[in-house]
Every structure is written in C-alpha cells, then in structure tokens.
Subunit: 306 residues, 2 copies
C-alpha cells in the first residue's frame, strides 16, 4: 500500500451495476437474481447501489420489474438504494415503492438530448424540473447525471462551458450530487481535470467514466486529485458501451477498488466478495466479466485449484 | 486535447510487441510476417522497436528465427531495433546480425531470478556483467529490464530498496536505460511514484506496466508526473500475462497513445496506422486484439461500413 499526496482518505463507490449494468441485457434476468445481486453488493460493503429504473418498460424492458424488485428487496439500514426516474410517472411509481433517493439523467449535448430524451439541450429541463421539485417536496434526495461530458458520437468534443452550464443548473434545482458521465469513454486525464476545475468546487461532483478506450482509471486519478470523492462503477464492468458490445463499457468496480486499495484509500469494500459476486453474475449472464481484476483473480483462483 | 501541468512535452514509446508480445505465441509465425509487422510499426512512426531475442531456441522457440529476421528486415535509418540478449552466446549472434542496441533482463526478486534465470538475486549479475561489458566494447547501447518491481507471485510485494539496488547496479555497469517492469501487473499509482522517486532521478528510467489488473495507464500517469519520459508498450496489448491468457497482458500501445494524444503529449505516432496494424496482426494470430482502443475503433469502423 503506497499513498500518494493530494488524494482523498476515503472514496464512495457509487455502484451502478444493477441499473446501468443490466439495462441493456437482452435476455430477461429473473427478479430474484436481481434481488440477490443487489444484496450481495450490500454484503460486500457497498453503501449506495443504484437499484433499478422507473423508465417506461417499452424503452428498457429489462427493468420492467422495478416495482416488483423493490418490493422483494430486503433493504438494509444505512444503505442507499437510489433509482433512476425519467419523468413524473416514474416518480409516482418510485414513491409507491418507498424509494428515498432518485437520479435524473441529462445530456450535455444537443444531439444526445434529441436522441435519448427527445428534447433539446434547453428543453430537457422541462422534463427534470417537475421531477426534481416533486421529489424534493416528498423529502427525497435527487442525484443528476450529465452524459456525454467529454464528447458525443455526433458533435465531437463537448465544450466544457456547456457541461458546466447544464450541471450548474441541475445543482441549482436542488440536486445534491452531479455525476459527470463520459458516456462513450473518450476522455483523457487532462480533460477530466479541466472539467472538474471548471465547476469551481468538486464537493457535489461525482465522476462516471467508461473504459471503452481504457482511460477510466487514469481519468479517475485525475478526478481524485481535483478533489472528487464519489466514483461511479459497475460490478465486473458490465454494461454501458455503445460501440464495443459487452467487452468495454463501464468502469469495473473491482478494477477501481484494486487501485484504491493500493493507494490506501478507504472504500469499505471487500474485493474478494466483489469478485465472487461478479463471477456469480457472469455465470447467470452467460459470459465472462470484462473486468481485468475479475479475470485475473478468478483465473488465479482456478489455477490454484489445479 | 487538454494538457496537464507537470507532464513531459514528449514521450518515447518503446515498442515491445515483436519480442515481448510474440514470444509466447504457440503457433509459429512466419518470419516474413514478423518482418512486415516490424516495418508497419516503423511506418506508423515508432522510433524504437524491440525486434527479437537471441535467447536459446529451446526456451523461446517462437524467436528461433532471430538471425533470419534481422537479415531480412529493411532497417530504416534513424530507427532503433534493439534485441534481447541473455548471455555471451546471444551477444555473439546479435553482433553477427549487425545489432546496434541490446537489452538484458534482470529480476528484482530472488524467486523470479531462480525460476527465470536459474540464478539468485546476487548471482544473476555474473550473467549480465560480461554481456554488458562485451556489448559496450563493441560500441553497442545496452538497456536493462528489471522485472517484478512491485511484486512477484511467490514473495508478495517487492521492497523498493531491493529494486533500486538491482537497478542502480545495472546503470553502474553502463546501461543507458533501466526499464522498470511490473511483470504481473499488480502495481498501483502510489507505488509507481514511490519507486521512481526512490531512484533519485528519473532521467535514465523507463516504465513497463502490465494491464493484468487494469492499472497500466493510471500507473503511467504517475510515472510521467514523476519525470519518466520512456514508456514500454506492446502493439494491441499482445503478450505478457502469466495468469489471464491473452486477455490482459502488456499495456497496449494504442491505449497509451490515445491517452498521450488527449494530453497533448507528442509521440510521433499515427494512431490509425497503429490500430490498422493491430487488426492486421490479430487476423494472423487468429484472435482479437486485447487493446480497448483497437476493439473500439475497429468496431466503430465496421459499424460505419454498415
């Protein structure tokens, strides 16, 4: 363990596997498997697990069981189980399920706002404002995602001031946390530093890096040095890549925890249990985890059995 | 492109694909393919390409054609084509082939010295000393690798002073460059910083990170910040992993260049040509490149053809 100056003592890993990781799975995963998955994550030490989404089932059929899942899930005290909520209909369903924290999803670019939300960069706020206001009225905490913060596939690099504009407005609306999403994984460490610094203060920022081009951990280092202490990651690296299939998407929780452990940064997470959960999940998804740590440690375990 | 304070303006990528990348391939690769591979790398802008090894063919059958390869290769002016040389016999063969630069391979741990070199941590120098002296006598440049610098599979973490002891001695023997090798990929950024700083000056240091646990680029960032300007990498990430098969071994040149390009650090390398070479090589090796950049860019190219 070797610490490095200028890094936080503790990092909160915001686990997105059950929602962001599973949402694009084609084969329907039984709700019992999802509930067990989430409970394994809690047992491994996670304090915040994005559980599901109350988006219309037509758009994300895999998460059509969100109400059923929340009814079944044994929520542990002290652990946050936020859910993604796109609109007022979704908020109503989340409230019926006893949800205490939600997340909304915004775009930093015009084209992605059009394609993903069917709104413009400006008009997307018409969707969020009533959702955020309604959630706050009911005493819920609201997180906001901003996606495509470094670039999108149509417009190229995203101007930093445009990301700050969208993000600052979401914070002003009362969101307690802003997750900056490199949805297509094109960012590099200097860009990550510049973006975090452009917000003035890192206190309410989280980062959500994708490993599509292998940059997620290098970018994470840059964000931590700039003062960010909340990092999104997905069990086993599942989900999240628009180009490269299942191979390279979300930052894998295990790869992140390996780095943080080596740096002596506390997370409260048990890496062995995380790896075991990813191996267990991979069996259920029918393909190996894309996480390098999971691959290395599970093969090592296998070779030691020989 | 977003620069970051405290990083070098320019980095030399020391390409190890033809030697370190190919040496563990089971199926024999035709010497003509190797020559074309190396020439493609030169055409893509590489200035230093570790070409082959004059190790005994019994140990590395894949590189038994080293003399033939060097005779066939059209060496371009201004480009270095170093070769690995384990002993005096290998040095003689390298000299016969008109080699101008060699590399020797040392261990930072007792157990790996025993297993890989059949010597101890101390007695391994009996192998190197005559090779280095003989090479210098003939006007050759000598690079030294030190392997297992962060840990090995038998002894756990390697004490930093032990690495510095082995490395400093190799530099004292006249090696112009010392490549610090994380042979099993267990290092994290704080450890990388501590090791580079322990040498006192980064001027003659290079780093050789493996991506077994996904840490190679984060570690590279740490090394660059500590003043290192030479980074080893392997085309498409081929080779180099003792545990996880072909999936996660050497740092992929393309993943490194993506990061350096994003940081505005000059390499002189053409990323598109590197990716095309990795795709070409993957076809000859019969499996996809493990590089995330190669996977993403080649799938993007395919999807744009649709």
């Amino acid at each position: 363990m070797h610490k490095l100056d200028g890094l936080p003592e503790r990092v909160t890993v915001y686990e997105v596997g059950p929602r962001d990781g599973l949402q694009n799975e084609k084969a329907v995963i039984p709700v019992e498997v999802k509930a067990e998955f989430i409970d394994r994550l809690a047992a491994a030490g996670h304090t915040v697990i994005e559980t599901t989404s109350f988006v219309h089932p037509k758009w994300v059929p895999q998460l059509a069981d969100s109400g059923e899942l929340l009814a079944m899930l044994q929520r542990r005290p002290g652990i946050r189980y936020p859910v993604l909520v796109p609109n007022l209909k979704g908020l109503d369903r989340a409230l019926e399920s006893g949800v205490e924290e939600i997340a909304v999803f915004a775009s930093a670019t015009e084209t992605f706002a059009n394609r993903n939300l069917n709104r413009g960069l400006e008009s997307q706020f018409e969707m969020f404002e009533p959702v955020i206001a309604g959630a706050l009225e009911h005493g819920l905490k609201v997180r906001a995602y901003v996606s495509m913060v470094f670039g999108d596939p149509w417009e190229g690099p995203t101007p930093i001031e445009q990301v700050v504009g969208v993000g600052a407005r979401l914070l002003d609306l009362g969101c307690f946390e802003l997750s900056l999403g490199d949805t297509i994984g094109v960012g590099t460490p200097g860009h990550a530093t510049a973006l975090v610094e452009a917000f003035g203060s890192p206190e309410r920022l989280a980062v959500h890096f994708h490993d599509t081009y292998g940059q997620a951990l290098a970018n994470t280092m840059a964000a931590l040095k700039a003062g960010v202490t909340v990092v999104d990651a997905s069990t086993g690296g599942i989900g999240g890549c628009p180009f490269a299939g299942s191979a390279t998407g979300n930052l894998a929780t295990e790869d992140l925890v390996w780095m943080l452990n080596g740096l002596g940064i506390e997370t409260g997470l048990n890496l062995d249990e995380l790896v075991a959960t990813s191996v267990w999940l991979a069996e259920r998804l029918g393909r190996p985890s894309p996480s390098r740590v999971v691959q290395a440690l599970s093969q090592k375990a296998l070779s030691q059995k020989d």
